[in-house]
Symmetry: C2
C-alpha cells in the first residue's frame, strides 16, 4: 500500500523510520525475510505478551505520538515484568490512517528508539497496514529463568501482599483529561504526565526467587488484586499502607477525590505481588538495591474477598477482564 | 470493556469462544496469566511472523467470518512455510466494533478451531479491544531446524526456480468480487472461493535441506519473485511453465484477462523457491510424496531483472513492500 496523500510508501516507513529500531540484530534478518527468529539462552524460557492500543479508546485522538509509543511499550513491558521476565525484543503491527503525518511517524519511532535503549530491547519486525484509527498491536518477548515464570493464581495463605510505587496518579490524570476534576495547573501537569507517560515497574525479574505470584495493575488495584486470589483465599489490607502520592493524599483528605474510585480504576502499571512472610526482608532489600519503592499492604487470609481495615470491598472482580 | 449492546463481556468472549482454542496447553497458562511461554525443542529454533488484516482493506465489510479466519491463518502460515518452519502456536489481537454479533464471533472462532486442528497449532493468548473496523493482528510461531531457516536473498547462480500450485486464481476472484470481470456463475464460485479461502502451501519445512531461498506470494508473483533476486542476479523464466489453472488459461486465451495483470497482482499464498539444479529430482520427489504441485519455471541468471521468454518485465519491484 502507498500512503499517496503524504507521498510516503510502506518501504519508506520501514527503511526511513523503523529500520533504526532493529539494532542490526541478526534475529531480524534486517527486515528482509518473512519473519524473525529468537535466540535461545541456556536455562531460560522465552515468554510472550500481547497488548494493543487504539485511538479514541486507549488514547485521545490528538495525544502526542510519544505518549502512544510510551503506552504500547509500558503495557507490554509491565506484563513481562509480572511474569518475572527480562525484556528481549518485540514485534509491532502498526495500522494507521492514510493521511497520517510523517512527523507523527518520526516522533513515534524516535520515542520507541529512546525506550528501546532504556529497556534494552529491539524490534524484530512486524506489519504495516491501513485503518481509519491509529491502532498498534505489539507482542513482547522476554527471558525468564527456567521453571520460574511468575504466575497469577499461586498466592499462599499467610503471604505478604506487596505493591510497587504509588496507586491512583494515572487515574487522576485521566479524570483531569476528561475534565471531571478541578485541580491547580502545576498538579494538572504532574497527573497528566502520569497518565500520558506511564512507566512500567520492572522489578519482576529481580524478585523471581522470592515471590509466589504477581500481576501488573492495568485495570485498577482492586480488580487486579482479586485476580491473584484463588478460591478460599482473600486479602486482608490496611488502608494506611496503600501507597498514595502526597498530592493525591491531600485531595483525598479534602474529599476532592474518592480513594475507592482511584483504587477501582486506573492503569498504574505498578506490580502487585505476594511472597512468603519470611522473604519480607529480602523483598525490601532487592527493592532498595534496584531503586524501586515497595509497600507491604497486608496478607493473604483464608477468607474469600478483599478486606480493607476489616471491611469487605464490593465486587472488585467487576473490573476489566484479561485474555493476557 | 463490556460489549453492552450485545450483552457480552470480554470475559464471555474469552471463556465462551476463545478458550476452546488453547487446547489446554500448559504454555497458555489456561489464559490466566499476563502472557504465555514457548516450549523449546532441542536443535530447533523458534521463528515468528506477524500479519494483520483489516475490514474494508483486506476483506470486504460483509465477508463471512470464516473467510476472515482463513485469511489471518493463511497469511501467517504461508510466512512460516516460506521460512521452512513447522507451525507451533499463535497469539491473536482481536479488535472489533462494539456492535459485533455473537454469531460472528462464534463462526469466526469455530473456523479458527477447524484450521488449528488441520495445521496442528493452538492459541497462546492475546488481546481483545474495541475498534470501529474489525482488525486482527496475529503473531505465528514455528519450529525450524537449527541454522536452516530459509532466507530470501540467498538465491545462487544457476538455481532452478520453482513455484507451487497455480498462479492467478485468487486475483481472478478479487476481480470478480470487484465486478471488474464477467464470467459464468460456476467459475465465479471457483474463483471467489480461491479469493475468500486461500490455502497456504506448507511445503517449506519439507524442502528445507534442498532449497536456497523462498518467499510466499502475497503481493503478486513478479513482485515477490523480485525480492528473491539480489544484486547481479536475475530470473530467466519460460512463460509456458508458469502454472495457471485450466479455467484461467481459457480466459487468457480468449483475452478476457491479461496474464501479466494476474502475475503482477494477487495473493496466491503459493511458495516461490530456488534450489541447486542437482536437487531438481529431490524437489519433485518431496512434492509428490507430500501431495504438492511444483513447477520449475526457469533458472537464476547473472543478469539483473526478470525475463519471460527472453523479454524483461518492467518494474516488478513496484509491487507491495514488506516489513515481514
Amino acid at each position: 500500500m502507498i500512503y499517496d496523500n503524504i507521498m510516503i510508501s510502506e518501504n519508506d516507513i520501514i527503511f526511513k523510520f523503523l529500520k533504526k529500531l532493529n539494532f542490526n540484530k541478526e534475529e531480524t534478518f534486517h527486515f528482509k525475510n518473512d519473519g524473525a527468529f529468537f535466540k535461545q539462552k541456556p536455562n531460560m524460557e522465552i515468554v510472550v505478551t500481547n497488548d494493543s492500543i487504539t485511538e479514541s479508546i486507549d488514547f485521545f485522538k490528538n495525544d502526542e505520538p510519544e505518549s502512544v509509543a510510551q503506552k504500547i511499550m509500558t503495557y507490554n513491558l509491565s506484563d513481562l515484568s509480572s511474569l518475572g521476565a527480562v525484556p528481549y525484543a518485540y514485534t509491532l503491527s502498526l495500522s494507521m490512517p492514510k493521511g497520517i503525518e510523517i512527523d507523527w511517524i518520526k516522533k513515534f519511532t524516535n520515542k520507541l528508539l529512546y525506550l528501546q535503549k532504556k529497556y534494552n530491547i529491539f524490534l524484530l519486525g512486524g506489519d504495516i497496514g491501513t485503518t481509519n484509527q491509529i491502532h498498534l498491536s505489539a507482542n513482547f518477548f522476554g527471558y525468564v529463568k527456567k521453571n520460574l515464570i511468575i504466575k497469577r493464581d499461586t498466592a499462599a495463605l499467610g503471604d505478604s501482599i506487596w505493591v510497587t510505587g504509588n496507586i491512583g496518579d494515572s487515574c487522576m490524570g485521566l479524570l483531569k483529561r476528561k475534565k471531571k476534576i478541578k485541580i491547580n495547573s502545576r498538579w494538572q501537569k504532574y497527573y497528566i504526565n502520569k497518565y500520558l507517560f506511564p512507566l512500567p515497574c520492572m522489578i519482576g525479574s529481580k524478585i523471581i526467587n522470592f515471590t509466589n505470584c504477581a500481576i501488573d495493575i492495568s485495570d485498577g488495584f482492586f480488580g487486579d488484586l482479586s485476580k491473584l486470589l484463588k478460591k478460599n483465599l482473600g486479602a486482608d489490607l490496611v488502608f494506611s499502607k496503600i501507597p498514595i502520592s502526597k498530592n493525591t493524599k491531600y485531595l483525598i483528605d479534602r474529599k476532592i477525590v474518592d480513594p475507592f474510585f482511584l483504587l477501582n480504576g486506573g492503569d498504574d502499571y505498578e506490580l502487585i505481588f505476594t511472597s512468603p512472610k519470611k522473604n519480607d526482608y529480602k523483598i525490601k532489600e532487592i527493592a532498595k538495591k534496584n531503586n524501586y519503592t515497595v509497600s507491604k499492604l497486608g496478607k493473604i487470609i483464608n477468607k474469600e474477598g478483599i478486606f480493607l481495615d476489616g471491611n469487605k470491598i464490593k465486587d472488585p472482580e467487576k473490573s476489566f477482564q484479561y485474555f493476557f
